[in-house]
């Protein structure tokens, strides 16, 4: 669902990916990584959708929180498997959210 993030500024990690064929343990690991990310200090939320292209955006308080998550041991193993097995191509973008606004239908 749409992440309930605080007032900007905060950070977004935009992860865009094209998968290889077959699951090969991907779904289980993806769920596990979201659960693990939620436990990290500075984690604010995550949004995800996939068609042919997958987009996952995770939100963080600051660059240091992102760095620590990048260095998390279990995450390192998952990222290694990602390069070896699950992804044909991916691009990660680290961005500082400066403004946000939302709309909800009455």
């Amino acid at each position: 669902m749409i992440a309930k993030t605080p007032k900007p500024p905060y950070y977004a990690v935009i992860f865009s990916s094209i998968r290889t064929e077959g699951d090969k343990g991907y779904s289980e690991m993806a769920n596990k990584m979201v659960e693990l990310a939620r436990l990290q200090e500075g984690f604010l939320g995550v949004e995800s959708a996939r068609e042919e292209l997958g987009i996952t955006v995770s939100y963080w308080t600051d660059l240091n929180a992102i760095k620590k998550w990048k260095e998390n041991a279990e995450h390192l193993i998952a990222r290694e498997k990602g390069r070896k097995e699950w992804y044909k191509f991916f691009k990660t973008r680290i961005a500082k959210v400066e403004q946000d606004y939302e709309f909800e239908k009455e």
Copy 2:
């Protein structure tokens, strides 16, 4: 597909949305808006995926290009229809991309 963006810094507009039921002209307008966005000065690319949640990330050279696109007359009409008909909820985040990296399988 994954947008071929230049070296950072550049800007991302992360648009996360929950649709109402039925198409009601949405798909046609969505395609038209992507075609129109491509013609704007400062447009760098767009990525999109939808499951229950939809995520569209468009990339722009700077805040001024984003502002001009927001004020584009046809886009204003589409955004008004979005609030009236197509979206239950959406959140827009404007973020400055500071770093990016990518991976491609050999």
